[in-house]
């Protein structure tokens, strides 16, 4: 059976809980320490975005298998304001929160697959996968 975990993000503690759950699953799936750090960091960025921009949402992490490959998928979803300009949020250094602007482009580089769906006033779903090598 494949492992799946949900973490509700509605406070700063949710960010910590999500990354702890992420590191645990990454270790169980068999990722090495560097990929564990990449996955944990990606989850932390996604969880913080939910908390910062949408107040609340959910991080779902699960083991995935596809065509003989195994890996780990992160799904970050919220019913927040949505992202106005998808192209700009993927630019390095673009920020509306006074942060480093490294969040989403960083997550994309840390993970292997990355997709955003966002609709204004409806919410955002970000899916990212890391494959075992």
């Amino acid at each position: 059976m494949q492992v799946q975990t949900h973490v509700d993000i509605n406070s700063e503690w949710g960010i910590v809980a999500a990354r702890q759950a992420g590191r645990k699953l990454a270790r169980e799936v068999g990722f090495g320490s560097v990929d564990q750090a990449r996955i944990t960091t990606a989850i932390s960025e996604l969880a913080r975005n939910i908390y910062l921009y949408a107040d609340q949402g959910q991080i779902k992490i699960e083991e995935v298998a596809e065509g003989g490959k195994r890996g780990m998928k992160i799904i970050a979803s919220d019913q927040g304001p949505g992202i106005k300009d998808l192209r700009r949020v993927m630019e390095d250094g673009f920020t509306t929160s006074g942060g480093l602007g490294a969040g989403l482009p960083g997550v994309k580089r840390l993970m292997d697959d990355f997709a955003i769906e966002s609709e204004l006033n409806q919410g955002t779903v970000i899916t990212a996968v890391k494959w075992l090598r």
Binding site: V16, Q36, P105, L110
Partner: protein, 118 residues
């Protein structure tokens, strides 16, 4: 949660051994600056040996604490950054520009001494 800050002569020594949530990181920033002010410290070593993840927020807090301490006249050296953390930071495109670093606490103290005497 508070991160303990130790005083050693003119220096402050900090070993971060807790999971850094946002609030702890911000409290830490404030505590370091207060302690520099209180003790008149000239240098600070922040050891990150036990930290297994630095995301963009924590990187910003750490970078800021270096800049803020510099403003006050104290030098900060970050030590013990784990390989996985260094790789992740560069992957993310986060460059801790002009932040002095050293391999471990011992070399961090040596580096501080050099910077302050030189």
């Amino acid at each position: 949660m508070r991160i303990p800050i130790l005083k050693l002569h003119d220096y402050l020594l900090i070993s971060v051994q807790v999971e850094l949530d946002d609030q702890t990181a911000l409290q830490f920033q404030e505590d370091v600056l207060e302690k520099i002010h209180e003790e008149g410290s000239r240098g600070v070593v922040i050891d990150l040996t036990s930290v297994d993840m630095i995301d963009s927020f924590i990187a910003k807090v750490l970078g800021d604490v270096v800049d803020m301490s510099n403003l006050m006249g104290a030098k900060v050296v970050l030590t013990g950054i784990q390989p996985a953390v260094a790789i992740t930071l560069i992957d993310m495109g986060i460059v801790l520009d002009e932040v002095p670093t050293a391999l471990d606490l011992e070399q961090g103290l040596e580096r501080l001494q050099l910077e302050l005497e030189g």
